[in-house]
Symmetry: D2
Subunit: 340 residues, 4 copies
């Protein structure tokens, strides 16, 4: 089987697991108040080059939901694209903590700045919730990557309306290392109020780093984590992992490797004439295939079916990772070519 199902299908990067093995006889204080976490935060901070506040959270959904709810009053809500992860992939987690999401028009997973402005310009009163945070993801759920000018425009609109901009970076590594990306991690910290640096999909066993660029936000954030059951007792585990990922650029190297395999796949797909459902810009590649190709392809390749497109076409998603091998890409392409 050639593995393109997702980017959370293996234990973690060998260097990360080796570090855990290496530390197996060391003792740490609990709940993330330890030296491993401190050092990891310093390393991340050094890349960001701005005075930020960082918390480690064990899962992507927790990182999203708690970053949002910790900065919302009960009557305030979130603005997102209809394709947003908080909309379709978190089982109503945001609503479960009491908040409503409203949609603005988007394209290929990216919010349209004008639609956002139009919505925020409207009068908002007590009949509906007050919009207070804009949620975007980067790379998006459809594999696309925001350009610097797009982020600048969205952030500017947010600031004009006293609204917080939150970027879900479960796949931020792949976004930042994308060939289309025209900003660095350091730049990013000036383009939003809060962002996350996902570990789970980029070499860690688990863990997301929530970065509060605006340090007025996220007051007492560890209380929210504790109350939600995700202030990890062995918090040092995330410190150790992020320490490895941000040593010698492993976090970025992993993402680059995933993107390189995605690029190889994109080139091959173009060659054999497969169309893309969305612009291929990161480690998630969405293609349009004849519906009856999917079953035979699934005999040789793992991937996800993203539902019907126009006509008889179906959307399939192939995901590459830091451990994807060239032979796997070749194998997928050959399998697909056979079926066309």
């Amino acid at each position: 089987m050639y593995e393109f199902r997702n980017d959370y299908n293996s234990v973690g990067h060998p260097k990360v697991v080796e570090k855990l093995m290496d530390q197996v006889h060391v003792r740490y204080p609990g709940y993330g108040f330890d030296q491993a976490c401190d050092e990891a935060k310093e390393k991340i901070q050094a890349k960001i080059n701005k005075d930020v506040k960082i918390n480690f959270v064990p899962s992507g959904t927790s990182a999203n939901i708690l970053s949002l709810t910790a900065n919302l009053k009960p009557y305030e809500g979130v603005v997102a694209a209809e394709s947003g992860h908080i909309v379709n992939d978190e089982a109503g987690a945001l609503e479960a903590v009491g908040h409503k999401v409203v949609f603005v028009e988007s394209q290929d997973g990216k919010i349209k700045a004008q639609a956002l402005k139009d919505y925020l310009d409207q009068e908002h009163d007590f009949f509906n919730i007050l919009p207070k945070i804009v949620y975007i993801s980067n790379s998006t759920e459809l594999g696309t990557v925001y350009r610097k000018a797009e982020l600048e425009e969205i952030y500017s609109i947010c600031k004009d309306h006293d609204v917080t901009l939150y970027i879900d970076g479960a796949r931020m590594g792949s976004a930042l290392m994308s060939p289309v990306c025209d900003y660095s991690l350091e730049d990013l910290a000036g383009l939003c109020d809060i962002f996350t640096l996902g570990g789970t999909k980029n070499g860690a066993l688990f863990g997301e780093a929530v970065v509060f660029c605006n340090k007025d936000l996220g007051e007492n954030f560890h209380y929210y984590l504790k109350q939600h059951g995700v202030l990890t007792a062995k918090g040092f585990l995330m410190g150790l992992q992020y320490g490895v990922l941000f040593t010698e650029n492993l976090y970025f190297e992993n993402a680059k490797r995933a993107n390189a395999m995605a690029q190889k796949l994109v080139d091959g797909l173009k060659e054999i004439g497969v169309d893309f459902a969305y612009p291929p810009e990161s480690n998630q590649i969405f293609v349009a295939l004849e519906k009856d190709l999917l079953d035979p392809l699934a005999q040789k390749v793992t991937f996800e079916d993203f539902g019907p497109l126009e006509g008889d076409l179906e959307c399939a998603r192939f995901v590459t990772t830091y451990h994807t091998k060239e032979e796997e890409v070749d194998g997928l392409l050959a399998s697909l070519k056979d079926l066309l």
Copy 2:
């Protein structure tokens, strides 16, 4: 420093971490629907020897809160001892998902059966919540262990009142391996409706196994986990860890080792004339020390201060683990003796 602060201060048992290292190039499906989880569940099931339903949950608070809320209507509540973990140590997590806890009298962390019966016998109407689940922990937050007759009596009262009995087993290994424990894991499955088998404090990096002995409970439990952000993407990590812990009795051996070190500590404490705040029955030992001994002791030993007792006495907790060394126990005893 001699380490007696808690039992979640190291990465995990070396065999567990080795297993993760060993599997670093294997690919797994997501969200716990994988072979590693299936095999681990089979191994646990084999020890229980009863048809049960098992879910892995990454943290103790999540395991508690979700096991409770998944079996409660909004107007139903939980009965617990005032010392219960859900009462004092989870930052209001149960209330945050909407449920109220009511207390019944307890001694040394254990609910008194008669007090439970008296409370459940009362008429309950719509002015207050309806009691629907009894929460106990074993070993308790004060280190004590329920006897079989106590569990039988409590469970019988629960069944008479159509109330569920849930046992928080964050330290179930230590409870079952306690010299005072007169039942096995297999017995336990007949003594309650739901219990957990904690991994985090007994060799795993993270993870609790929630065991539904009454399979009518916990319907669609993975939906609750997903909505709460704790349906771990790399669920196979818990499958791998529990697989190791339930191979060759490692789970029980770890607990035995922790208890043996606790027993050595208890013997030594008795010798030097230190009094116990609660009966020492598992890997948490609570002692009564003159208040002004704590600061000097903290120069040599890590432990937790559990607050004032009568007179000038203060309660200190020493926790042993599977990796506690005899020299550490000796060191603690010598340090303490010097101060007396």
Copy 3:
């Protein structure tokens, strides 16, 4: 000023207030467990001619939210039209109790049966909420009224998918008395699982009657009301009011009167060439006016601005009630004619 702002702008029907005055020296038990409530329920039940369960709730939002949440598990959600009252007019109240709303295509405020079927036919898994209740309103927020065949089709789809159909009847009187309505209150009880009979907008000071046609639903409903702070201490007040409204058909006479005034208004609007934004079928009439007419009109008439339509048109809503006078309709028409 000619009053067309809404249908909750006066104390209540004189006969209702007279009844309260008349009973001012009588003593009643609390929380709705009294003879006045029993008698009112019997009167409503007699009109419905089916064994139903009835609860009185003081407000429309409470009636909606609690009827929904009392029949949902935390991971289940509600399907509605984007124009639904629970979507736009309740300040995120449903999300505040933990539930998500998903939209299906609608026209003029009415859910399209085919769109509902398509959505419910999809596979629903743990990545998103499970649809469990369909919410519609009748008359809708846009003043339209469901036909019998439409309700039959929607209810049939619901039953095929084991989904509950809830009808928000804050304006059910006007719907049932609409010239386009081809079913009775008795029929209605066979066309859905739960519906409400709104009092606040049809003669009562406050109060909605929630009617559970499917008596398996709404178990312990008064607990939900109590916990939400809306199990009215003086519940008998709603019993007294509904008793009056369902004596000598006052409930229906009030609605007929409101509809008659709406019909007079519709006829007049057609005469002077004003277009309707949505089909005028009940006591809420939505018209399309040149944007710059609204300010001068507001000097003489109270109404609500429902936002921009195409081009330079703006949507204005005129609402009639049982106490609207013919002179007021004439006054509105004359004021408008002057401006055209």
Copy 4:
């Protein structure tokens, strides 16, 4: 039957209902943004003689829960006496909106200042909730009334700890008119941050006035009301009622009348040798009766059984109101005397 069951057993004071009748043809704007509300607030404000913010809320539980939650972060909680209304009589409503209550020692329904100080002085960290609001009721659930010095001491402790003091005044009229009360409504506004002036139990059909003495609190309070379904559409109804109650001192006259009947009852009870369960200081009188007297007494008098006291004694509650008649008090006393 002599009626002493509760103080919410009749429609409302005749003058209040007359006012509603009188206004039956007047039109008002919705949601409490009307002249009747404005005028009523001015009248209340005039008695308070301090710049406060006032909101009308239809029920006591809503007034309590929303006043508390609107001033709490999710990880903050409430301190109360174990006898508190929010603890025993609101069906877990506060927990349902996510907040935990912790208890401090109390006597006869009143919090002990020293116990409050001791609790607030403790270190509070992320293992449990942070105390942020102290809830007391006046008169208390046991009929007692705080003295000025007691309120001053409690409020001073609250301010020292940056904690808000909230007084549930569902029966504030009776408290302020109590012979033991040594402060006025004007004084009260300097003795706490928020208090309520209950209408439901003192002449209104429904309605509580929430008074924010500290105007920094309760920001956007009407959003909380709307989201909770209790921003009454016909908000003017509460404006009209409070307008009557605060004209010519009716609010205080009603309470005085209730207290006078209570005093008459107390005198009679003393004469016939009945003991009080708690000090009789307001319109709720709690007595200790032989258990087997209750059934025969219930043949002639309505009252509530408050459960067992020591020995064979049972606690019975008699409640007087502004409409209690002298003959009723005589009747109760005679009935009781017959049984002794």
